[in-house]
Symmetry: C2
Subunit: 235 residues, 2 copies
């Protein structure tokens, strides 16, 4: 019976060691992939030393929105031919803060076995490393890009964190991380806990998680331009 | 400078392959550990073939509640001596649906570098494999153990899932999974999506994620007694 394998990929440069060998072995023997971006997926599969020449493989791209006729067609035809399919995103785990969920849902509807594989996830690593409540948490994707709306979003998440003792996570692109940090330290209450995790598993990994009061005492922090996870927690 | 390493451990029997070799290498050279349960932690470290005899290592247990004088003392003394500390739980990632967050928060307060390592997390694997929204989700730990309160909890989570298109995750012990499944299929609306992930990465791995209507059509499902993650999503 064919299987849909969910294949995590590294979240930092030169971090192939974060993808366990059993996952690399599975990825190496597949030849049909549904991917977020064909170029980076080909590069990743090539780096594993696959069994077949890369030109003989199929890489079908998955657009951001949930349904994609091309990807669904590739999936259904491959499965009908009795072959396994690999699903992978640009970085981290497919379907988590990344596209891919639509194909997984399709697999369930068709009774195809779905096998999630172990690998790096910036959300999970950031949560573990935050020291905040990991018994109750929520992830919100990206917040509003503009300052006044961002401040309002941050206050809303702070309220959820305080009311429910539920850690709040969100992400931001490399070039907007500094703005988020600055607005958060201006906006949040002194005893709320605020966390930043940058370039996880990479050479520039930086993780800091402290009450807002302590951040303010320590003075201005310059964030490197890297993918960032932010967290708000109750003290 | 000493480091606090957050060390994931397997979540199923005979699944050491899910812990990447670089994580095993780090765990192998440490000799002070703060752990959820000393007996299983010793067993895990022994299975890696550590550099030192296991009798010369320190394993300090971390109770369920957030603060533990023993664990804090072990941590602070080891760090003061310039040595690294490993933090590990019984299964999966320390601090995520498991104890450990208090020690991580202590490390941040003392300016100790915290390094989260990659490994298996049943929550993350279940979310990836659910085909539900992975751009917005919340984890709630355990729900109420008794039927009427459980049904009320399930309706509350269903409402959150539908209102915010936010996938809702919770966990249950092996011997209560069947009851949760039965109550959920009695309680939830036909077009809500319900997911179960059992014994992830283990030989009994079972993942199913379908609209409640489809679960009902398929007839009674008998769940094996294994650790379970449940999910409720919007269709």
């Amino acid at each position: 019976m064919p299987v849909l394998y969910l294949i995590p990929v590294p979240i930092a440069e030169n971090a192939l060691h974060t993808v366990p060998p059993y996952v690399q072995d599975i990825a190496r023997r597949l030849d049909v992939f549904i991917v977020e971006r064909a170029k980076t997926a080909r590069h990743f599969i090539k780096s594993l030393g696959p069994e077949k020449p890369i030109q003989e493989m199929i890489f079908t791209e998955l657009p951001e929105h949930r349904h994609s006729a091309d990807a669904e067609k590739t999936f259904l035809e491959t499965i009908a031919a009795g072959k396994d399919v690999g699903l992978l995103s640009e970085a981290g785990c497919p379907g988590v803060a990344d596209p891919g969920a639509g194909i997984v849902a399709l697999a369930h509807r068709h009774g195809v076995r779905v096998v999630p594989l172990v690998g790096p996830s910036s959300l999970l690593l950031a949560l573990m490393a935050s020291g905040m409540n990991g018994q109750r948490f929520a992830f919100h994707g990206y917040l509003s890009p503009k300052r006044p709306e961002l401040a309002r979003d941050l206050r809303r998440l702070e309220q959820l964190a305080r009311q429910h003792d539920q850690t709040q996570l969100f992400i931001e692109t490399p070039y907007r991380g500094q703005m988020v940090l600055d607005v958060a330290l201006d906006t949040l209450q002194p005893d709320s806990v605020f966390g930043v995790a940058l370039d996880l598993t990479g050479t520039g990994e930086m993780i800091r998680s402290l009450p807002v009061r302590e951040w303010r005492k320590a003075g201005k922090v310059e964030l490197a331009k890297a993918p960032a996870v932010f967290l708000i927690g109750k003290n």
